[in-house]
Amino acid sequence: MNILTAIIVSPTVRFPAILSILVAPLLLISCSTSRLVDQDRVFEPGQHAVGSLIDSDVLLEDGAVLQVNYASGNRFFLTSGSTLSGFLKGAANSTIYAEPGANYPNVRKLNSVRVVPAEDARQLFQDRFRKLLPADAESPNPGPGGTVVVGSAVGYGGYWHSGRHYNRHHHSRPPSRSVSVRPDSYRKSN
């Protein structure tokens, strides 16, 4: 990807025409580009990816690099040493849980993207569906160095749809279990 940028910004760099035809597809192939919609994904150490994400949870392991073109309704879990870059086409309603040492864009000008400091992004990603806010929870914002409760972003009628912080007005019923399992070979007891 860096080589491609160099070609664009340096018009004085010239390649033989045949070489350009051969190199360009290889450069495109080397960066995986995808669109993630309503999926969860773990980017392994050293993995580089480019794409747009909608309504997805993403964990970036140490050394993983994710360039996001457009993001909406996502939760990014960044371990130390991982890199989240981009938002070239905008971002909305997303939260970045970042360990110290994680790299992420400056989101000050993006009102609906917030950065929440995290001690263990991997654990938060693991617990992302298990913890729910209590009925009267405040919108959490622990500030720098604080530990984050994942349930603050799971939301119940407030976060995912409106993009605002947790809206307790919609939380009129008691929270139910967020995840259950059904093994293929074992039945539940009555």
């Binding site: 693991q126 569906f129 939301g155 139910s176 995840v179 259950s180 059904r182 070979s185 074992y186 039945r187």
Partner: protein, 192 residues
């Protein structure tokens, strides 16, 4: 009272002395194998770390630590504000048991073995990223028997059956039923 204590001490020393003589026949071994569990109709693998603490021409007494495992596919349901999302998951069962085995030699290298063991079964559920979502630990017991071929070079082969008794397990707030079940298996090992 003093006479009783003295008698007990003498008996203990005598037992320890005889045990010491028997313990000089201690040998170790490893066994690996697999089998099929009738309920829930799943294949499994096992490994044994064996120690034979007494052996003569007719019998041998062995204690071993066994790790047995099998998996089951599962469906995870995530309740999100946008609806229920289903994903594939895995449930893994790991049995760790301490066992005693009595082996009686029949003819040539062929012998029959039987024994029992107790331990714990660790049940875990993972999502499609192999991230553990929950786990449970329960009691497990087993009895087993089979035929074994013990070759001169220390190589072992066996075929047998076991009856596994497992407690029900609980994952993510739900209780699941396990049935006591027969299993049939084969194994190969090395005695040293």
């Amino acid at each position: 009272m003093k006479k009783t204590i003295t008698t007990a001490i003498i008996a203990g020393v005598a037992f320890a002395s005889s045990a010491q003589a028997q313990l000089s026949n201690v040998s170790g071994g490893l066994m690996l194998g697999g089998g099929y569990l009738e309920d829930p109709e799943k294949a499994y693998l096992f490994g044994q770390f064996r120690g034979t603490f007494y052996e003569d021409d007719a019998f041998s007494h062995t204690a071993f630590l066994e790790i047995l495992g099998h998996t089951d596919d599962a469906t995870l349901s995530f309740n999100t504000p946008g609806g229920t999302v289903f994903e594939d998951g895995d449930v893994t069962f790991i049995n760790i048991t301490a066992n005693y085995e009595l082996e009686a030699k029949l003819f040539g290298p062929i012998s029959v073995y039987a024994g029992a063991g107790i331990g714990a079964e660790i049940v875990t559920v993972d999502d499609r990223f192999d991230i553990e979502l929950d786990s449970d630990t329960n009691f497990v017991a087993q009895v087993f028997m089979g035929l074994r071929a013990d070759f001169q070079n220390g190589f072992l082969m066996q075929a047998g059956a076991r009856y596994l008794m497992r407690e029900d397990f609980s994952l993510l707030g739900d209780q699941f039923v396990t049935e006591d079940s027969w299993a049939f298996e084969i194994g190969v090992g090395l005695q040293f």
